[in-house]
Assembly symmetry: C2
Homo-oligomer: 161 residues x 2
């Protein structure tokens, strides 16, 4: 399947909610997201890597408007677990390369990551699907990131929000 990169999207209005030391057993992720759903919090990226030592780190992003409610919703559920801490980051930018056929192509990831690295932007989170590679970066670098990503894929102007 051929890769077609269609555009770059930038959202400058998000923060990370990072949960560390979540008990790595069936049910913990479910309860976190049920609490968030009950609190009407809209979640964008969800990134969880494999657990070690019986605990896992789970990070998700929300719009700034939802940050306070997200932290409270997570805080109350992890209290019941007896393990876990939640923290809200400074504002981040979510930068996404959108296309088709990207799933099988390490080359698209390599191109995006290289473009960011060459301008000194550190990648904080990575999440991918067949149609989108998303990274979270420092919001202060959002415009640079959009520019170098567009150049990397020979695209026109980006839509920043």
């Amino acid at each position: 399947e051929d890769v077609v990169v269609r555009g770059v999207a930038v959202d400058k209005n998000q923060v990370k909610v990072a949960i560390s030391d979540l008990p790595d057993q069936p049910g913990t992720a479910a309860r976190v997201f049920q609490n968030l759903a009950d609190a009407d919090v809209n979640v964008d990226m969800i990134v969880q890597n494999i657990g070690r030592g019986g605990v896992a780190n789970l990070t998700f992003t929300v719009s700034i408007d939802d940050a306070y409610r997200a932290e409270r919703a997570v805080g109350s559920v992890i209290e019941q677990f007896g393990s876990g801490t939640v923290s809200i980051s400074d504002r981040i930018a979510k930068v996404s390369v959108v296309g088709v056929g990207m799933r099988s192509h390490s080359g698209v990831a390599a191109s995006l990551f290289t473009a960011l690295a060459e301008t000194g932007i550190n990648i904080q989170l990575i999440s991918t699907s067949e149609i989108k590679i998303s990274v979270a970066i420092d919001v202060a670098r959002a415009d640079d990131a959009a520019r170098v990503a567009h150049d990397a894929f020979n695209l026109g102007a980006s839509e920043a929000t």
Copy 2:
């Protein structure tokens, strides 16, 4: 935007490639994926959470056919970093709920995660986009996962590969 869950997809032929202690600075992710691209390795999920203490953990999934080449490609680049270890997991199943409008809905994540938890399936990786929530789980539970995910969203038969 209304959520419409269209289906569940299951891939039973993947493994996780987990890189721990990757130097958390611009360029490390780029070099890893450039090496993978050069080795013609197709990558599916990429999950990287925020770094702590100057290092980060990055995990991606590949088809079983690509596992050996993936490990060698990653091994050679992390040698140059002087930090980082790579390991290949046992076979995992990637279970995805596919739909539209899912990005803003913690409820869809909650429903999937709850369905898995209620049958005792542990979630190892999570990666999301507007059209897909994907988790990596033990391959031995793949059929159970497909079944409970279908029930959770009132869907028909799944396509398992």
